[in-house]
Symmetry: C2
Subunit: 411 residues, 2 copies
């Protein structure tokens, strides 16, 4: 399994990988709603009760029988008897008699018999216990009907939905305090390369500190996985094999970054291939940075071999590892990547047939956002630190002209 | 301080509020880099060493004296003596002699004397200990110079920057393991309204469950604050006053949602006004939903009074509370909101002079994203639960035509 027998287009490579993942359901985890932010719902939720639970006024004014106001005008008002005010948080003491109007606040509960609310500004009190209504209201005007937001039995949230603050509000509205979420996938992270040492060690000449284990762990955390760092492997097949086997057993997904040399990348592919069927599915993607990417599934578990260069590793992890984390987490609808349209400052040439990703700085201008490409080598981590986002030059294009409106994916 | 003496444009309202916040610096908190994801850096970081720390090869090939290859071609190769291979993670045993070539891997350390690397594919080994070089290389070709990414003393990250996976990678590269971050702001959250009961309670007729405390706590968490829920206040000034005073003492920022009635909103403004100078700065914003918004600063601490309707509360919290959380957290550059361009399905009329925010569903199509507006009443939380994002109709417009490309802010 040597490198780059055939470079696959990124889209096709990702599809092959995802298609080879088994449809296993992650474990369920019961959670208090208030602790469920960002988690994936593992059950369909149906409402047990209507929302609102009673007819409510949407304005400040007077609850009336709509028919009592028909024909009312400023010159010929309808005269209604003032009933008792409806207190907030309580039902009316009695049904609303005909030819009567009960003062009501926004959110107040309509008395039985009432079918509309006249807004305060279209009324006048006379001081004699009577109310002048200066405009007619139609039945149902200015009220929220029982069940208008949600009906009993209605499916309100589906399995596989990510829980945002909005969903937490919805659960609270219905009195739902505990839900089943999917367990978060455990993502094992391994670095390799004879030249790589942990960041707490002072590198000797020829050595570099491990960057990828830490940046990738943070990326995994950001996108809903539980990262577990498993250290650095030397480029020795027998050690690598045993260690990867062990890590794979304890993980739902394994991310390996190779050392920067081609021999280290070849070793990584060779070792992954021995982890089980179907093994390495993709070795080499037509993308820059990140050509030497390895995508594998071994005994039902995904493994990705990332290039060792820190910029390549991060770009490829966002494009390939994040969708797999989302799939393993039970997310149904793929997340929409945060992005912003911006005007490109300069021409960006690229090679047709290859997908290119370029880090950019975003600068605000009176005409909107401006994207300034950062000239980078994929081994310079600080070109990504400076970047606000990345832009894609698609394979079918041989570059983007300066002044073009591009879509910047926010980092 | 009665409602809506003057409705301010949203942008102006936010500016007034932010301008009245004192420039206090949040507390410092030393953190391990691996625990700092999403936090705000509280110090300028300068590199103590160069990156890379030594001249590295960017390709697989042979380290050479560039001048030894000048004039080389396929028909007239340069012949060089093969030196020992440079092992990954180690320096060469000896300087590279003139007319010699040392095998080197990508990421390997250049031997002293060498100033370029010839790519493997432009060479041929002869079997007699000699190397044929088929193309010339220029000095510095295919190498990363010491300090090319970062120079010693260089400012690499500034105070006020949010830490992403990329920054964590940068710290690791430099061996930085602990940094000072700003403490996260504590955000006190209070609900009010005589009709509001906690979600674990079954509402009696006329009562509704507290939605806002929970959805807002999740929003605060999402945007880097530490939410603390302080329960529900009745619409009684003497209780409200004492409780708010207490909460304000223990918080960096207080979010109050009023009951849904106008009298509950008036009470909220009256109570806030008594918390200290300058008090209520804005009462009423020209926006829909969310007109009755109250913005205040009392004794140096911001307070926001949100409308009680759950949709209004969430929309206004995103527009006003989030920038204040970011300011209190020490974030220097405002966050770029995640958004996506989409084609609007239908005409959306609006009132000129007012800023409107409409929840939309996003549907993927071969032509790109499509935004389907959700018809909502601001008291229906499930209109937000269904939404993928919101779009803005700016004050200077009286609507958006169907087919227009709009910017959907992702929820």
């Amino acid at each position: 399994m040597s490198e780059f027998l055939r470079l696959l287009p990124p889209k096709e490579a990702l599809e092959i990988w995802l298609d080879n993942l088994p449809d296993s359901s992650p474990f369920l985890q019961p959670l208090l709603v208030e602790n469920s932010l960002g988690r994936i719902l593992a059950e369909d939720i149906r409402a047990k009760e209507p929302l609102p639970a009673f007819d409510r006024s949407t304005v400040d004014g007077f609850a009336v029988h709509a028919s009592d106001t028909f024909g009312a005008s400023e010159s010929l008002p309808a005269y209604l008897n003032l009933a008792d005010e409806i207190p907030m948080g309580h039902p009316a003491q009695q049904p609303l008699s005909i030819h009567s109007a009960a003062p009501i606040h926004t959110g107040g509960m309509l008395p039985s018999g009432a079918d509309a609310v006249v807004m305060l500004e279209y009324t006048q009190t006379t001081g004699t216990g009577e109310l002048e209504v200066l405009r007619p209201v139609a039945p149902l005007e200015n009220i929220l009907k029982t069940g208008e937001d949600v009906k009993p039995g209605q499916l309100i949230l589906s399995k596989g939905k990510r829980i945002r603050p909005e969903e937490i509000g919805g659960f609270s509205a219905l009195g739902i305090q505990q839900i089943n979420c999917f367990a978060q996938p455990r993502v094992g992270i391994l670095s390799s390369g004879d030249e790589v040492v942990p960041p707490d060690q002072t590198p000797r000449p020829g050595q570099v500190r491990d960057i990828n284990s830490f940046s990738l762990a943070a990326l995994v955390e950001n996108f809903g996985g539980i990262p577990v760092r498993h250290g650095i492997l030397p480029d020795r097949e027998e050690i690598f094999l045993g260690r990867l086997q062990e890590v794979l057993e304890h993980s739902d997904f394994v991310i390996i970054t190779a050392g920067s040399s081609a021999s280290s990348r070849d070793l990584t592919a060779r070792v992954i291939q021995q982890m089980g069927d179907p093994g390495v599915l993709v070795h080499g993607v037509n993308i820059k940075p990140g050509k030497p990417t390895i995508l594998a599934v071994c005994n039902g578990k995904p493994i990705i071999g990332l290039p060792g260069n820190p910029v390549s590793a991060m770009v490829i992890a966002r494009l390939f590892a994040v969708p797999v984390i989302h799939k393993l987490a039970g997310l149904k609808k793929p997340a929409i990547p945060a992005s912003i349209p911006a005007s490109l400052t300069i021409n960006l040439p690229s090679q047709a047939g290859r997908e290119d990703w370029i880090p950019v700085k975003l600068v605000s201008s009176p005409q909107g956002w401006i994207a300034e490409p950062i000239f980078f080598k994929s081994n310079l981590i600080f070109s990504l630190v400076q970047a606000d986002g990345v832009i894609c030059i698609p394979p079918e294009s041989n570059g983007l002209p300066g002044g073009d409106l591009v879509n910047v994916v926010i980092l």
